[in-house]
Point group: C2
Chain length 406, copies 2
């Protein structure tokens, strides 16, 4: 083992929270707790913003009972941030690190957080300042590169799968057309999880629309009409991020049509979640168009699952919880082991589900993301394949047992 650097550590949480981001936090805290050479473990309030404003909690002082409760709690216990640090911002972060003799930096987040970690790391290297930087992956979007899957995804996918299972039975009780809008700006991983609890081909979701496939309203109405004609009902999963041929989000097109001011985050992304507008629009459109074609007054409903997908308490995937915790522990292990920085990644063994952890390069995880591969989307572009279910099922834990009458 390389010699431990004497000094302090900083940890932060970033971006959209998940149900298990605190597991990773606690994984780091419990591992660092044993290391005497690391004086303080400073938890930054609200991510990088807490670092530049020097708003810290000393996490070595937090009791084991509180830590365990926090680990079980959805969302970022330290607070999160949507700030996307540029070079100047990273410079400020680095100055705070120097001032506080910070020698270890753990940043739990997505691809943007990996990029911020990468930039700070380069600055330290350029300044000849000893600093170990580790990114810990988290995102319900499951779109980070290198790693087999991302902590946070399994729990969100578990929520979505269970929601579709129950809602499908509800929609079979009172038949009609039911549209459920699922989180996912660029990648359809979470929307695809809607199929994981399907009992048989008659069960929903009957149609799945992901951002990877260009969305057409005409095609949508046609597809729904076909299923409705066959089964007398239709349950549909739609990514909030579905986009047209020009890669423009339908939600953004719609907002402009309605003359609504479009809210954008620091990454330039249009606000998608926290509004039911896309679902309502699709429901109204189907009701009108398919109503016109069939001459029927259709029962069409839309639900937008919203923040519950990432924050619902008490329903995380046990395997996701355990893996998120391990990712935190491994970040510390890797950071203490040598003089290499990086991001914690997971590798799946062939055969029975088993995960091993390895160090990935920050640059390989930073910035770009990973879409659903073509092999996971059906040919018609309105469903997912058995290969996807095989990939995703081990991540969500045991799904509820449900049944139906013949």
């Amino acid at each position: 083992m390389a010699q431990l650097i004497q000094g302090n550590a900083v940890i932060g949480q970033s971006g959209g929270p998940t149900a298990v981001i605190n597991q990773s936090l606690v994984g780091v805290v419990e591992s660092i707790g044993k290391i005497k050479q690391i004086g303080k473990l400073l938890g930054a309030r609200h991510g990088v913003r807490g670092i530049v404003e020097e708003k810290f909690i000393d996490l070595k002082k937090v009791g084991k009972g509180v830590l365990e409760a926090v680990a079980q709690t959805p969302a970022a216990a330290l607070g999160s941030s949507r700030d996307k640090p540029d070079r100047a911002y990273c410079e400020r972060i680095f100055k705070v690190f120097e001032k506080n003799n910070v020698r270890y930096f753990f940043y739990i987040g997505g691809n943007d957080s990996a990029d911020a970690a990468r930039i700070v790391n380069e600055m330290a290297k350029a300044a000849g300042y000893e600093l170990r930087v580790f990114h810990v992956p988290k995102t319900i979007d499951n779109d980070l590169r290198v790693t087999d899957h991302c902590p946070g995804y399994g729990s969100a996918a578990r929520f979505v799968a269970s929601a579709f299972m129950g809602d499908d039975r509800d929609s079979a009780s009172l038949p009609g057309i039911k549209i459920n809008v699922v989180m996912g700006r660029h990648a359809g991983w979470l929307t695809a999880a809607s199929v994981l609890g399907r009992m048989d081909a008659k069960c929903g979701p009957h149609l799945v629309y992901v951002p990877e496939v260009a969305f057409s309203l005409d095609r949508f109405v046609h597809d729904v009409g076909e299923v409705y004609g066959k089964l007398g009902r239709c349950q549909i999963a739609v990514s909030e991020g579905i986009a047209d041929e020009q890669h423009k989000a339908i939600a953004a097109v719609l907002a402009e049509k309605l003359g609504k001011e479009v809210e954008r985050d620091s990454h330039g992304n249009v606000q998608l979640s926290g509004s039911g507008a896309l679902g309502d629009f699709l429901a109204d459109y189907v009701k009108q168009e398919l109503g016109r074609i069939t001459g029927k007054k259709l029962r069409v409903r839309a639900d937008t699952f919203g923040y519950l997908q990432r924050s619902f308490a008490g329903y995380a995937s046990p395997i996701d919880q355990a893996e998120a915790r391990m990712c935190g522990r491994k970040a510390v292990e890797f950071a203490l082991k040598g003089d290499l920085d990086g991001s914690v990644a997971m590798k799946r063994a062939k055969g029975a589900y088993k995960i091993s952890y390895f160090r990935a390069e920050l640059k390989d995880v930073a910035r770009e993301t990973k879409d659903l591969p073509k092999s996971f989307i059906n040919k018609a572009g309105n469903g997912v394949t058995p290969a996807f279910a095989k990939y995703a099922l081990p991540l969500v834990g045991e799904l509820p047992v449900i049944g139906k009458l013949a």
Copy 2:
């Protein structure tokens, strides 16, 4: 015990499904299964509609394994119906009963179902036809009279409480104003359940709006501004059924304003669920008005929990499941015991939580509903009292343990 009438039995499920309506169904099925004098137990597809169309399944032939899986499954396994039978409709039901020698009728539903059961029962009496009619209560709205609470409520309340717990932590991670719209057309029972997992006074929901209190937009903006000024964030629970001084649903006022065709059910009720319009409207309004007052660009988000509240799979309240099952069993027990008809009701013992079951008169449960009592709503009309939590906590089962950093 009075002499058993030889003949068949019919069971149906009605209205908006719940997570435990199938528990009641299975409670009836397993109890009837043992009674040889009852030949067939006919499950009506889609409630009263299945009766008049004679679409039945013989539930005595369903295996135990399937029944147990169905009991765990949200929504109405027989299918449900929104039909509100008038006298002529009830006449058709009665004719089918005579034709099929139906001597026992079990109807699982809310106050309207109790009323349909009452009418059919009167017809049988007038015709001198031996028929035992039992209503089995179910509704997530918890608004039936006589009974202490309604099967279905505990599970929906558990979902809502857990959703608010996690969402509150999410909203603390990325502070702003968060509005969550909860089911409940006339009664605020389910919206009130939003408070059940609150760890302390700083945790949300900070404001709760129920249909029992006239809703004012000005007052709403004022309340939100006050909480936001104090805490830097605000999480809000709003019933979908909030109404103005003239008892007109805000959702209906809004739909008219937008020039949208208002969908009504057979009861004349305006469609509330299956749309995010109310939440989006309130979010836009607060953003604009409070933004103007404070001069700040506010982060405001709205989620509408929608059908997940009644249908989410795998998260029912264990106590609610057990009670719903018992209500089904008790309906059979009461029906076989004598020559009285009725509705199954629950009574709570003083002291530690314990429920006993009794027979209520159909007429006392039919038609009218029960609002949140004044003692459960705070003086300001924007929150609920500890007395409500004391009433509701035993119904939801153990809530998840969560924690936060100081």
